[in-house]
Amino acid sequence: MKNRILLAALLLQVFVIVNAQEVPGREENVAYIVTFGAQSLPSWGDDDFSQTFFFLIPKNYPKPVYINVYDPEAGGKLDEMNGKWDTRIKYSVYGGKEAFSNKEARGVAPVKNYRSGTLLASKTFDQDPDYDEKWYSFGPFNPGDGEYVEELGGYVFKIVCDGISGNDGNLYKYFLSIKANENIPVEGGNAFTYEYSFRLKDQAKSLAHLYPFLDKDVVSIKVNTFDFDNDGNIKLYSNAKNGHYVAISNDNEWVESQHLIQDVERNKSIDIQLFKFSGTNNDMVMYVTNQYNVPLPFFAIPLGGVPKYKYKINISVKSDAK
């Protein structure tokens, strides 16, 4: 119960600090989220050609909400063509029972019941110039049609983006809005995922941030990265860690590193900073698990705020007496 209250408080704090539920979050400094067509090679940066995001709407929110998708189709200058534009991307929005609570919905791979819940909306995009670098709106949705999650204090919608066919890469964004085709944030809303497929900014020496949330039971975490291309370093920052190195992966490679979690880090977000050396495109995947191999959520707006390392001052008194 205490945990829930704390979590809800953290979510509220999020609202106070920032009121945008865009994905990627502004704080993250990530260019886009990415999903490749099913015929793509994983080495291009997407291991499973599917990405699931969750949107949280606070309980008792009265207005209908929209999930806006920026550049939903694979085509145009934003996306990554391989050969020719032949990729079909399907978005499916789920709510209702098990949309979130089903374990496989919160998995890191699109297996079995990852599409759990009640299908509320769906659209498949081919190459559609009408939506190239434009927003498409799913909705309106009745917030009550999401799955109510007490721990999160609100209703959760799930949007699954699947690369149905083709081998192009679709780069896109999400925004939880109260208006169709216009991004007006839902007060108190948030977005999170358990496996993040994203494109780092193609700026040399850019720094991206990801904010997984560690609950009170986390003792240790494993940070898994895929296809980082060894393009920089990844460090861990928290209240107790001041830049612990995370293992980095090469092309088409999964790598994990384990990190013990101290008490002061629990019930807080940690900051995984990805420092990119090069200025080229880099699509990668990351997920974080706890000691039970249960994936932990990355929140677009870090819960509890961006963690700051707390320096300790050790004072020792040297005696002159012999």
Binding site: P62, P64, T118, L119, L120, S122, P140, N142, G144, D145
Partner: protein
Amino acid sequence: MRSKKGVSFLLGYCILFLLGVRSVLWGQTQNFRHFGTENGLPENYVQEVSQDSKGYLWVSTSSGVYTYDGQLFTKFVNAASKEETGYNVCKVLRDRYVLGAGDGKVDVFKEGVNFPVKRLKPFDGPVNKLFLSPDSLYTYIVSNGRGVMCLNNNTYELRFMGDALKDMIINDLVMIDHNFFFIASSDGLYLYNYSARKLQPLDDNIEALCLSWNKLSRILYVGTKSFGLNSYLLGTDYQIDVTSNLFSKLEGPDASISAILPLEPGKSFYIGTSEGNIYQLDVVTGKLTSYLSRPLRVKISSLFADKTGNMWLCTFGKGLLRSGKDPFEKFYQGHNISALTADPAGNFYMAEEERLYLQNFSTGVSDTFSIKNGLPDDKITALHCDRLGTIWVGFANNGLYYKSIGQIVFKPFAQMELFIDNPVNAITSSIYNEVYVSTTLNGVVAIGHGSITAQYNTRNNLPHNNILFTYVDSRNRIWFATHHSTLSYLEEGKIYDFSMRYPTINFDINAITEDTEGQIWFMSRDNGVYAFKDTLRYIVNTDNGLPSNFGTAVICDESNQIWIAQTDLLTKFSLSRNILKTYSTAYLLDNMYFNKNACYKDKKGNLWFGTTEGIVKYNRPLSQSVLPEAQPYLLSFKVFDEIRSLNQKQRLQYGTYNVSFHYSALCLTQSEDVLFRYMLEGYDNQWSEPTKRLRIDYENLKDGVYNFKVMACNSDGLWNKTPLVYTFVIEKPFWKTIWFWTIIALLFILSVTLFNYYRTRMLVHYNKELSKRVNEKTKQLEEEKQVIIQKNKEIEQYNEEINASINYARHIQRSVLPDRSELNNQVFSSFVINKPKDVISGDFYKVYHQEHKTLVVLADSTGHGVPGALLSMMGNSLIDTIIESGTALDPSAILYKLDKAIIHTLQQKPEDFTNESMDVALLVVDTQNHTITYAGAKRPLYIVRNGELQEYPGGRFPVGGLLTRLTKEFVNHQIQLQDKDCFYIFSDGFCDQFDRENKTKFSTKRFKELLVKQWGSGIPSQEFEINSALNNWKGSNEQTDDIMLIGVQYKIM
């Protein structure tokens, strides 16, 4: 050369003009009533609405399905199941309802039954939508991501429609026939071939949101997400022949058509958009009419038109809106329209101060007339369009202007001088197109063919020169209204004073109109409204429901309803139903005031009113049908908050109860005006006042039969004829029931009967016993009787013997008594009355004669009967002995000797205490000397002489007896007799005799009077009289004592 400024001005004017046109097109407003979480509907996300055969609306929302009757939203629940039902979609069939739930179940309910007659589980996920086939034979059940099931509504057979429909979001589904379906989905418009299980894209360039299929023309209308409304002509081979886009005038979110409602199929539609706008689209002309001044900013999920003509807007986020037959529209808001009229072309002329607007609401053409059109810069006070279409404008100070039809320039009336500084109050025209202009100072001016034909003022019988209003009725009478309590009319050139006929009515008139029956209605300034035909027909004022007696305008509509404008209210009086209805803020008539006489009826029968906030138009109803009655019904009956069945009459046990009734009424049109009246028969004495309450509580109800009645009236004020009645009974206590008293009575009768029976038996038994005893006694008595008889016989015998003895004794006694002749001779005449009480007497008398002396003795022995007789015999004998012993005839001496003799004979001693004695009267009559010597022992001698009685008392003591120790003395009285003296000696028996009542003795006094009375009568007469007196006195009473009386009359020879 035109200046740049001029060009700019013109350009600006054109832009403004065009904007004005556009704004007019968008200026009409619909009145919407909103239902959301704040006022009755528990959910703001409404998917759709349908209506059942009874008229109830069924509202499908994400949190449940609700029925609505105009008053209440009631969640539809499965009465057979206690768990949350979770219905969120519903389809209404003729006599059944199909409901889908979030857990995938589909329940079918029959009308009037609150538990499902059939339950199905077509999917293991939520039912998202239901679609009905046009013939209502099938219901198509859609579960997004799971597919479509077809339910046969009669057999309840389920049929899966195929995998092709599985993985798609179906926004709409229309059945073409049993094999082909249109599918609207976010991925496009599809044609589904059920038999082939094939999904064929018809247009995958659109996101299809909603469909409307016109079977006759085979045209499908599709609301799209981005491209407005498309139409598709379907060929006989189920291929699309023609596609066209009908609705591209709007952009952005408004191009997303989320709902379609055919108005005239194939010709016009109501369209709802995702932005929350409503339009009416005329497909033929392309005309688009907006119904909202501002969009709702939420998606319109669906549109529905109910049977009473209301349109319902289901929104996703703002609940439900109803656009009904709310009759009013508002135009020119923000303008103070003080006068209005219209020409034959439908152009309205409206005055606001010095401005004159022109507006054609149909074509959108508008204009403003001012100085440039020849009008003066002066306040417009009157407007009129005559029969030829000429517009007449009256001004406050600057006279009268007119404009012929088709012209844009106004001309001043030629003879203007009459109207300068003479405000024009009203203008009207007769059927001959004579224009009558009413002024403030000069009465009325008649204008014909452009010139003045007549003037009417006080000089020619007009009651007043300040004429406020004129009206032409159907008989071409011109009515003139004033504020001076006079009303007159002009008919065939002559003015008549109407108000004279009704001197008691205050004809301070503001406005006049005529109804369809020819009755003239006058709106007084502060006394309500009157209607006259030949006589006063109606008075409508605050006494009978008019909100106020003050009015500004009055007009009659096509339905013969009188509309009365009163400051900020509009009241309609229906003559046919005698009902008043007032429209106020609920009809958007807020913060507006009706201007005096600013009203007009157009050719279509619509009414127009000029107000301080623009124009209010009352739309004439398309049909003359009246609103249906509001049908009341009972929602619940609770007893101490416990719900009781409504299906059966409730009988409550004896006690005191609190009950409550929750009721409602089915009336979807202007339901906010529905009113109720209720009464609990058995508790209330009368119907309640009209109320909007839906619930009523009653407390402390005692035993009895109660009938709860409720009536409802619709917004027209029409009460339903038959009230709803619900009866319940609180049982009487057993001690109040008939059966109880019957039983008591029966018990009483029974107990009485038993008592009587028992008593009778007892009596019978007693009687038997008694009889037995009686018999025994009788027997005993009989025996005793026999004994007694025997004894009686013996006694009789003894009696006879005794009587014989006594009779013999009497004989002896009588023989001893002297003969009566002893005292009847020449000297004495005498009688003797000797009446023994018994057979023998204790009284005796003796008579002795010795020479010239005669001794008479009368003695009364103690007692009577045998002892008395014995004593008398003894006394008789002793007297004889004394006389015979030679004792001189000296009464006193004789008495002395007698006394001693008795004592000696009876051996009386003082200590014996005996009292046998005798009272004796003893006299000796000396006939020679004519003297009596008398001595008595307790007996007197009476001598009556010349009617006077003298009494010579005897001694105090009797002879014999030793009751006293005193010496007895017996003294002689010497009395000289005279001729005819009567002397009497007697025993006390006569005076002691009781009368016939046994109360009074004869007494000595009465005896003396009797004797005195006999004076002068002969002895026989005296004897007779004295005997008679005695007998009369005694009557049948028993003789008290022995009676003896000797009466002697002495004659001196």
